[in-house]
């Protein structure tokens, strides 16, 4: 028992555990909108695109959250511009822009990166990289997300279910889409250290899919996905410490195990 509690005596682990659990819940929560709007590729792509911003801002020496955030917005705008010029579809535009941004990040880190840039930690997650500032950031973004979803719950639901009718009904669809993208981008930014950019998409998708397998009610799905994400982060962090593995992959595998359980439960109960 004491061995299980050993890591809790370390400040870095406490920080990592809070971020993993809260970020898991945050990704699960926002992931419901991502999954129901069939935007999984955006979540995946945006996290990769942000890696380019991380590398560039690290090299220039500006705040990583500001640099990577601005880079993410630029990537999203570029995707929108390319998509508007047919015949390139949005999935292809996402593929081109985000992988190019990811590749640029790798080149920057390999070519000009200094020893203080731990690319592997950003790619796959590293509990040692989590500071008190990261804890504050993830708590702040989670609070912002909860307030936004609470204040615009019905509008966001309408836009997610049927954007065209929502627009006809007078909702500011473009504004609500932008709000969702900002929340998604912020969730990716604050989760980057613990999960790694290559695995964030899983944290966005798996909890929402698990919840959808277990419920047919949207508010229940939101709460359940948040809970699944939090459990995924908490269990994954503990297991990764004891097995001495990178936190990101273990958290994702914990989620995958929950998915298998929910899928099996769904098959059994019809």
């Amino acid at each position: 028992m004491s061995q299980l509690l050993d890591p809790y005596s370390f400040q870095f682990f406490q920080n990592g555990l809070v971020v993993a659990t809260v970020a898991g819940a945050l990704c699960g929560f926002i992931g419901c909108y991502v999954v129901l709007r069939s935007m999984s590729s955006i979540g995946h792509g945006l996290s990769h695109a942000i890696f380019g911003g991380f590398a560039a801002s690290s090299l220039i020496g500006i705040n990583v959250y500001i640099g990577a955030g601005a880079w993410g917005i630029m990537a999203a705008v570029t995707i929108a511009i390319i998509t508007r010029r047919r015949p390139v579809g949005s999935d292809a535009a996402i593929g081109v822009v985000t992988t190019a941004s990811f590749a640029l990040g790798l080149v920057l880190v390999q070519g000009w990166g200094s020893s203080n840039i731990n690319a592997e930690a950003v790619l796959f997650g590293n509990v040692l990289g989590v500071s008190r500032a990261d804890v504050a950031m993830v708590l702040g973004v989670t609070a912002l997300t909860l307030v936004s979803v609470f204040a615009f719950y019905r509008q966001l639901l309408f836009v997610t279910f049927d954007p065209e009718v929502a627009q006809v009904s007078g909702l500011p669809v473009a504004w609500l889409d932008a709000l969702l993208m900002v929340l998604l981008g912020a969730a990716i930014l604050v989760t980057m250290n613990i999960l790694g950019v290559t695995l964030i998409a899983a944290a966005l998708v798996i909890p929402a899919v698990v919840a959808r397998l277990l419920t047919a009610s949207f508010p229940t799905m939101l709460m359940m996905a948040g809970a699944v994400g939090a459990i995924m982060g908490f269990v994954g962090m503990n297991v990764s410490y004891h097995l001495d593995l990178a936190s990101g992959p273990v958290i994702v595998l914990a989620g995958a195990a929950m998915f298998v359980g929910a899928y099996g439960w769904g098959r059994l109960t019809g």
Binding site: F150, F152, R154, L157, F158, F161, D162, E164, V168, P219
Partner: protein, 254 residues
């Protein structure tokens, strides 16, 4: 959208409306007005631009040229084609209808909203179904749910895209009667349909569309062999039965 020189009973007006998807122009110089109390059917062959016209009238599709003007403060209700709806979306009938309630964005419902929901669902005969998942509804019930959503937002003009598509004869008649009742309650209705005999012939006003307005007016005046041939590019006959026009294909001479 403009409001200059607006006739008092006019709800919506399209002037020289053109719509394109890329280089392909789907609608050309459409002029159309929808007034209070109108019950209009838009008919035409596949690809004639019926749904495009409806989307342009609703404001969800920007015209490539021309304009759609709407009466200031007009509340529109749009009922999409059921084929375009994600029926696996995790919402109940009540949750779907309440999306359109304009009172607040908060998750919970107010007493006023619950009262209005009960009133609307009772009116449309789906009060018993509010806790069901949307996939558990029949085709006619799905249409009623979306009409209820529009009424929840106090729509004064309903735009329905193929509301009777895929419905059996009985359900089709039920939906048509429901829309006629709504019209009597002061709600104007515009719908698209492929069904010339089952639906279009029973509506007071028709628009025959084939990328442009071929004819627009009272059904008896519009449903003529000449207009139909021009609209569908195929010879047709119009017979009379029990006071209603019946459209039949004319065999093509070889």
């Amino acid at each position: 959208m403009t409001d200059t020189g607006w006739q008092p009973d006019l709800l919506l007006e399209a002037k020289q409306l053109c719509c394109s998807y890329g280089p392909d122009e789907v609608l050309t110089e459409v002029n159309l007005g929808i007034a209070v109390g109108d019950f209009v059917g838009i008919v035409g062959p596949s690809g004639s631009g019926k749904s495009t016209l409806l989307r342009a009238l609703s404001g969800s599709l920007a015209p490539s040229s021309g304009q759609v003007s709407r009466r200031r403060g007009l509340s529109l209700g749009f009922v999409p084609q059921v084929d375009h709806v994600n029926w696996d979306f995790p919402v109940t009938v009540a949750q779907c209808i309440l999306m359109a309630s304009p009172r607040s964005g908060r998750p919970w419902t107010t007493r006023v909203e619950r009262h209005r929901l009960a009133e609307v669902t009772e009116r449309l005969g789906i009060a018993e179904l509010t806790n069901r998942h949307i996939r558990a509804l029949s085709g006619g019930q799905q249409q009623r749910m979306f009409i209820a959503r529009a009424l929840m937002a106090n729509a004064k003009l309903l735009l329905l895209d193929e509301p009777t598509s895929g419905l059996d004869v009985r359900t089709r008649h039920d939906v048509l009667h429901l829309l006629q009742e709504l019209k009597q309650d002061g709600i104007s209705v515009v719908l698209t349909t492929h069904d010339l005999n089952g639906i279009a012939a029973h509506l007071p006003t028709l628009v025959c569309l084939n990328r442009r307005v071929v004819a627009w007016g009272p059904t008896q005046d519009v449903l003529t062999p000449q207009v139909l041939e021009e609209t569908y590019c195929s010879p047709m006959e119009v017979l009379q039965h029990a006071g209603f026009p019946v459209v039949v294909d004319r065999p093509i001479a070889r």
